[in-house]
């Protein structure tokens, strides 16, 4: 069997982690789940003003990083 190229390993790694996040979000939305949804933990982080500013800056940076460059 030929060795798996490192590029494929990297892509599989990213896909696995992203898929795990989708699974977590799905599980979090079940009734009575102890896992917070993305919205809930982001909301929790955004309770203090500094958290709100940093999260919004992170959102803006994502837009700049992917759409302006």
């Amino acid at each position: 069997m030929p060795p798996i190229p490192t590029r494929a390993i990297t892509i599989i790694g990213f896909l696995t982690v992203v898929a795990a996040m989708f699974v977590l979000e799905f599980l979090a939305r079940r009734p009575g789940s102890r896992i917070p949804t993305v919205g809930q933990w982001l909301g929790y982080l955004m309770r203090p003003k500094i958290g709100r500013v940093l999260i919004l800056l992170g959102w803006w940076w994502l837009g700049w990083h992917y759409f302006a460059r």
């Binding site: 990297t10 977590l24 917070p36 909301g43 919004l56 837009g63």
Partner: protein, 151 residues
């Protein structure tokens, strides 16, 4: 674990505006909602056509950031009450996933060995080249920004 969704005090209606002046979660009229949605789609479509590294592409992300920033500071909408606390075990799953993601990304950046160990951006950027895909991604980004302002 606390999942209290009861609006509490001024935290849910931040800013200088009294509670009765806070923007409602939903637009007053369905027509307004449709108009805003259509405007966002048109904006995303034109922004998606902007050439990377151009002034138009830069303004395309600066304007939404400035508008949402002004709304968040000046007249924030009625916010979704955040949970009082998070379940430690439940949150730890997220922390593990995020740590793995950023470790994987950091190793790609450190090795700097494109194309053998591409970063997430290296992988995502080619997918965003088609105009339609980029416009949809921008629309998702705009909606996510509004969702964050409401949090």
């Amino acid at each position: 674990m606390a999942r209290d969704r009861t609006p509490t005090a001024r935290r849910d209606y931040p800013g200088r505006w009294p509670r009765y002046l806070a923007l409602p979660r939903r637009p007053a009229h369905a027509v307004l909602a449709v108009a805003v949605g259509a405007g966002l789609i048109v904006y995303a479509w034109f922004d998606g056509a902007a050439v990377p590294f151009s002034l138009g592409a830069f303004l395309g992300v600066v304007i939404p950031g400035a508008v949402l920033g002004l709304i968040a500071v000046g007249r924030p909408p009625e916010r979704v009450p955040p949970p009082e606390e998070l379940d430690l075990t439940g949150m730890s799953y997220w922390v593990i996933c995020l740590a793995l993601f950023f470790e994987w990304e950091a190793s790609a950046w450190r090795d700097s060995s494109w194309p053998w160990h591409p970063s997430f951006t290296n992988l995502l950027a080619p997918l965003l080249v088609p105009h339609l895909v980029k416009s949809v991604a921008i629309l998702v980004w705009l909606v996510a920004g509004w969702a964050l302002v409401r949090r």
